[in-house]
């Protein structure tokens, strides 16, 4: 019987099988940010275990609240800084170089096909876009990852989601993943790996695949995962060119991380997206999705474009196409947070920042900020936000606030009219 990609990754990384189907696997990378790591650092210190398993495999960033907004977040940042310095973690990204973890680390080439990655952050599943097994974990798992470079998981069970059809103009990866979550529900993939395959995924860029995998956790998935292919090789080439004679060689090596044709799945879902329209969420759970319906005239107070879901250069381009030559409505405020400094610089070079600012957007430094309701755009009670992020939980962007999730293009169109709409509906 064949194996899935996740099974292949486990089988090559297993160092122990203490009992039952528990697999202790070797980690290729442990990612850290300043919200969940300081508690782990302090606990390791208290235990007299203030060490790291391999300082080159730990990547750390201050991204959630940066620059710090108060003395508590400043303390979290300080603990990260001192720890990175003391433990000689060279890949540490502080103010001026920092950006949203799940956008920054792939951009730096820290993710490779076949890798095992953990982070104390639920959207770690994003990195599965590269054909890696990447999972969010609790603090103790993070501590053991930092200390020993291992983590324990149940042997992976996989749901295969075969995305077929043609992605129409104005419909994006965000709409695809929202429709998948709407179909299977917020518990639809609990304890499972979500394998995204099929012709639509094959045509997607790495950015689009990251958007897809990013939201696997919103269906309960442990990790999202895509097969590495020539698109993956192209994206990673500048980091791997010394390891391979040619791109063809790299590709044939990467292909060992494809599932076998006779691999066993918990479930196979065929999801045809030919008739898919721009989507949005309406309630407090990410599976409460519907087509954007302009008749309802859902008024919003704030537009937020950014985050690890949709704060990458392609997302900014999609939004800028809509905003070019237009102004945002007087009734809304628009906030753009490019996900990383490189995204920001490229957007400046391409003139996108100009377009956003001319339209009336505020452009912030790269940070999570408003996505988790901590800074740079927190909602007041009763306010509504059209957002390109991944969570619409009650109070997520501010207590008493309402979040509608959508693609950058719909968010941009919404900023022009002040109510949720698609770019087609603009004059």
């Amino acid at each position: 019987m064949g194996k899935t990609i996740a099974e292949k990754i486990f089988d090559t990384h297993r160092i122990d099988n203490p009992s039952g189907d528990i697999n202790v696997i070797q980690l290729d990378a442990v990612f850290c940010h300043e919200i969940t790591t300081p508690v782990a650092i302090n606990d390791l210190k208290e235990r007299g275990m203030d060490r790291v398993f391999d300082s080159t495999k730990i990547k750390a960033v201050i991204d959630h609240v940066t620059p710090s907004k108060d003395s508590k977040t400043a303390t979290q940042a300080r603990i990260m800084r001192e720890w990175a310095r003391n433990q000689n973690i060279r890949d540490f990204f502080d103010i001026g170089k920092n950006g949203v973890c799940h956008a920054l680390f792939p951009e730096k080439g820290f993710v490779r096909p076949g890798y095992t990655i953990i982070m104390g952050d639920s959207h770690t599943c994003t990195h599965g876009a590269f054909g890696a097994f990447a999972a969010g974990v609790g603090t103790t798992d993070l501590e053991v990852g930092i200390l020993k470079g291992v983590c324990a998981f149940h042997y992976p069970k996989t749901i295969k989601i075969n995305i077929t059809g043609i992605l129409r103009k104005g419909v994006f990866a965000k709409d695809v993943i929202l429709s998948v979550i709407g179909k299977i529900g917020v518990n639809g993939a609990t304890n499972k790996v979500m394998e995204f395959t099929g012709p639509v995924v094959e045509k997607m860029s790495m950015e689009e695949r990251m958007t897809l995998c990013n939201m696997a956790i919103e269906a309960g998935g442990t990790s999202g995962i895509c097969y590495p292919d020539s698109t993956t090789v192209e994206y990673l080439w500048k980091f791997i060119k010394d390891d391979y004679e040619s791109k063809e060689k790299a590709l044939s090596d990467f292909e060992k991380w494809h599932s076998d044709a006779d691999a066993e799945y918990t479930k196979i879902i065929v999801h045809d997206i030919t008739d898919l329209k721009p989507m949005m969420t309406v309630g407090y759970k990410p599976d409460q999705v519907q087509e954007v319906n302009t008749e309802e005239k859902i008024k919003v107070d704030q537009i937020y474009i950014g985050s690890c879901t949709n704060g990458r250069i392609e997302d900014l381009r999609e939004a800028a196409v809509v905003l070019k030559g237009r102004k945002i409505s007087d009734s809304v405020r628009g906030i753009l947070s490019p996900a990383t400094p490189d995204v920001y610089k490229l957007a400046m070079k391409e003139g996108l920042i100009d377009i956003f600012m001319e339209a009336g957007f505020c452009v912030t430094n790269p940070t999570c900020g408003a996505c988790l309701g901590m800074s740079n755009g927190v909602l007041a009670a009763g306010e509504v936000c059209a957002s390109t992020t991944n969570r619409n939980f009650n109070g997520r962007m501010g207590k008493g606030g309402m979040v509608h999730l959508m693609s950058p293009a719909v968010a941009a169109a919404t900023s022009v009219t002040g109510y949720i709409t698609t770019p087609d509906n603009l004059d």
Partner: protein, 173 residues
Amino acid sequence: MKNFNGEILFLERSDINTDEIIPAKYLTEITKAALKPYLLEDLKLEGFTTKDIPGKSVIITRENFGCGSSREHAPWALEVNGINLVLAENFARIFKQNMFNCGMMAVELDKETIEEIFKIFKGLKTSIETDFPKAVFVLKSGGKSISIPFTVSEFDRSLVEAGGWINFADKNY
């Protein structure tokens, strides 16, 4: 190994979530000890006040305890209050994993057993003694006493014996 003996706190309700166990606003705390005063601060349960917590070492509750976010602050808030054992019909997956990762125990008992415990002991000062090797709890109040066998998976058992995943991993890997 942690201590799994002591007086019981009865929380007769289902779906007690992690926000009720420890509200989100305390997640910027950077030590476990700082969480101590806030345990169950927002719990909605008639007759319960946080003054009931001191002196208790075990919680017994109904279904789906620990649902909601993945925050490990929930077991920590219990731990720093001296509560290392929770008995329930079932638990949210991550909460349960986090408990055993901390060397604590989240043990499932069947519905009838939980019913029986509430019926016999609720409202009485009741203590529990855990015989871990034999996997038996002994509940006692006044003259009344009952023995309840329990099961935990082999891996969870080894985490408890090691005092948590950190110690287990440190010894084995």
